[in-house]
Amino acid sequence: ELKVEQNPLFLSMQEGKNYTIYCNYSTTSDRLYWYRQDPGKSLESLFVLLSNGAVKQEGRLMASLDTKARLSTLHITAAVHDLSVTYFCAGMTTDSWGKLQFGAGTQVVVTP
């Protein structure tokens, strides 16, 4: 059974500094997703990582995947206030049904 563990669960960031969110998963996962969720809103897809060594970047966010270590990271460069949301990683089961197993989420607060 695929289990996904995210840490930290809460991250207080200072504007302009760099931070990393970690996502470990327990068994083989077909692919790894990162989502963001604004308070009271739905999930917005950020990245999908398909293979070992995959790296995706969008603005100040960069995600990577190490399938051997069963680890994905979301790196935030020079944090700004509008990145103050909750980030989720989710692994997809390998049974072809597209089921997602989510981590508990990392709530990010960026302060001046």
Binding site: S42, L43, A90, W97, G105
Partner: protein, 112 residues
């Protein structure tokens, strides 16, 4: 393009009442999912469907029922509502088991 539409957005139920959460998508997606999100937690899969007439249980199906009579609609039925079902419910759809899922805006349900 409406995407995935959920109704209602908010609902308060009394213990023991029943209700149906509606989900419809206009993208002709075969795969549809119901997730619930408890406060401070990631999403957990309740039920999923890979096509009209085909449904299966996810991780937390107890207390819920689904049906899928058309490609577009995937309603979630709560029978005998309990306080433990207080949650935010998200419906999602995708073209197939290996493709990105699109999420609806969520239904916030409180059982009192």
């Amino acid at each position: 393009n409406a995407g995935v539409t959920q109704t209602p957005k908010f609902r308060i139920l009394k213990i023991g009442q029943s209700m149906t959460l509606q989900c419809t998508q206009d993208m002709n997606h075969n795969y549809m999912y119901w997730y619930r999100q408890d406060p401070g937690m990631g999403l957990k899969l309740i039920y999923y469907s890979v096509g009209a007439g085909i449904t299966d249980k996810g991780e937390v199906p107890n207390g819920y029922n689904v049906s899928r009579s058309t490609t577009e609609d995937f309603p979630l039925r709560l029978e005998l509502a309990a306080p433990s079902q207080t949650s935010v419910y998200f419906c999602a759809s995708s073209t197939g088991g290996r493709t990105e899922a699109f999420f609806g805006q969520g239904t916030r349900l409180t059982v009192v």
